[in-house]
């Protein structure tokens, strides 16, 4: 049981924090960091978008999905096919990817009306295993095993940016916009409805929360996020192939969501950095170390900090604000059981 306190920082500190974040994201990463790392940070942002989607559906919707790479694949292939086969402008494909993934999410989320808990995890896992063979089978359209060469979008000539810096900024703008949208979705009555439906369906239903529709809508929304992430991924890498979007990608996104904090939108960026950089570092030491670290990190996070790194950070921040008196609103209000960690009494 946590207290609902809204941090209210003094203006000076708020400005300072914003400035530091702005310097990091607008200057340090694109201009100071070596250029081969810049496109990796762009990938981090794309993964972060997909992870925010998982936060929505798994963290707040309570529906465990292990198959988000399927929607990332849908987005990536939508962009690739429209660009390669129909000569579209790559940026124009992003809304198409978003719409298609949203529709696919509704269609596949419909079984979520019936699939509860484990079965949804199982179904999405199987979906994710099925995606690469399907992509390979329709090779006339998808390019099969060879994949499709999308090419990296070039930076406009009037800007003093190289291609990887340009795509980084494109990802940054889209990620920021989607982050704000998720924040808006998760503020106010919808957040409470989601949490009620997640933690106690019966009570939620009595309060007039239609869990089925809500879950499907959340699932569709989170698929949209994954689809946009896929579009961006196709542009960053400049190439799509079926085996990229295998079950391992689904599971890494899940790992990222849990490690970053399943109910922490801010944690998504940490989770995304984890799944982008840890395998690269680990594979320098041993090929198999990456999976071992992922598996270990998943288990250790849940045992030691169930709220994830981001969730832990948010709590420490709140605690600090409370201690320093930087809060608004009077007195403690008992409310939402925020993290999954405190939702442990739900019937199995």
């Amino acid at each position: 049981m946590s207290l609902v306190v809204k941090p209210k920082l003094p203006v000076a500190i708020r400005v300072a924090v914003t400035a530091v974040l702005a310097v990091i994201f607008l200057y340090v990463i694109p201009f100071v960091v070596p250029s081969y790392l810049v496109s990796q940070f762009a990938t981090v942002l794309a993964f972060a978008i997909a992870i925010v989607g998982i936060n929505l559906v798994t963290g707040f919707g309570g529906a465990i999905t292990l198959g988000h790479a399927a929607f990332v694949a849908l987005g990536a292939y939508t962009t690739a096919i429209l660009v390669v086969r129909y000569g579209w402008n790559p940026y124009a494909t992003i809304p198409v990817s978003a719409a298609l993934s949203w529709i696919a999410g509704w269609c596949l989320g419909f079984p979520a009306l019936r699939l509860q808990g484990l079965y949804l995890a199982l179904g999405t896992l199987v979906l994710s295993i099925t995606v690469p063979p399907i992509l390979k089978r329709f090779d006339g359209f998808t390019g099969g095993v060879q994949g499709l060469n999308v090419g990296n979008p070039e930076a406009p000539a009037f800007l003093p940016l190289d291609d990887s810096q340009w795509i980084y900024f494109v990802c940054l703008v889209i990620a920021a916009a989607l982050y704000v949208v998720a924040r808006r979705i998760l503020s106010g009555p919808l957040r409470r409805a989601l949490i009620a439906a997640r933690d106690n369906q019966l009570v939620g239903a009595v309060m007039g929360v239609d869990r089925a529709t809500l879950t499907t809508a959340t699932f569709a929304m989170s698929s949209l996020y994954a689809g946009v992430a896929g579009s961006l991924y196709a542009m960053i890498v400049g190439f799509v192939s079926p085996d990229t979007f295998n079950v391992m990608m689904s599971l890494s996104l899940f790992v990222g969501a849990v490690v970053g904090g399943i109910t922490s939108l801010n944690g998504a960026i940490i989770g995304a950095m984890f799944i982008q950089f840890v395998p690269i570092w680990a594979s320098d030491i041993d090929v198999s170390l990456g999976g071992l670290v992922f598996g270990g990190a998943l288990i250790i996070t849940l045992v030691v900090i169930p709220a994830g790194i981001g969730g832990l950070g948010e709590r420490v921040f709140l605690w600090l604000c409370t201690r320093l008196g930087w809060v608004e609103g009077a007195g403690p209000v008992r409310a939402e059981a925020e993290a999954m960690g405190s939702a442990q009494n739900e019937p199995a």
Binding site: G117, L118, R137, V247, S288, L292, L302
Partner: protein
Amino acid sequence: MNLFASQIIDGLADGAIYASLALALVFSYRSTGIVNFAQGEMAMLSAYLVWQLMAWGMPLVPAALVSIVISFIAGALLYATIVKPLSHASLLTVVSVLIGLYLALNSLAGFLWTYTIKALPSLFPKAHLQFGSFTVSAETVGIIAVVGIVLLLLYLLFETTKVGLAMRGAASTPDSAILVGVSVPVMLLIGWGIAAALGALSGILVAPRVFLNPTMMFGVIIYAFAAATLGGFDSVVGAVVGGLLVGVVENLVGTYIPWIGPDLKIIVALVLIFGTLLIKPDGLFGRKKVVRL
């Protein structure tokens, strides 16, 4: 007609392997209500263990038996160390831990035995048996026979022994079982042990067909999931019937529907799982879940 018959027989052999892995899933699900996502990876490690024992000079059959026994112990240990402490945890925690285990075991195999494929010899001779007008490979008959015998032994264990009765009691009504003096944790321990042993059997049977590699169980576990879902996750009979059905359907679809063909057979599993869950979520033989409010 011969093609049809031999496809059915081959399907039954595949199905027998799926059935043993599906049974492993069912055993852990019945005893603890958990779908063990790591079951396939455990089976893969068991198959590697056989290879390792043979590399150390042990003949195939004893190596397989030793591996099955060790898998039983490992399964019981897994229950005692990881699954039991999770008995009151949230679903997300349980799923995450099992996925973590899956990733870790997969990498462990790659770490210990590298990612290059290895050949594990088949338990059965390369001969062909002649039945009237058509031939069946000894392996196909052997797989069906071995799984059949194991099923018979399990049936005898559950229906005729006191341990079997206690295990059934512990799985169906744990509270009443405790009252009549059954040690429920021990029974669940044995349940997870049997599950791991069955998984090991499926791994050892499938390894000669697909070669040993850390991802070898991918194509098996997905059909085992489909089999268990189709039969009903809490039904032993369902897992066997489901496994055989999935094996036969998969083979027939791969042979007779050219649009799908052998590459896209995996879609059969997806369709079966979503179809079952949508039309009859409890499966063909599963009990309807009743929740007391």
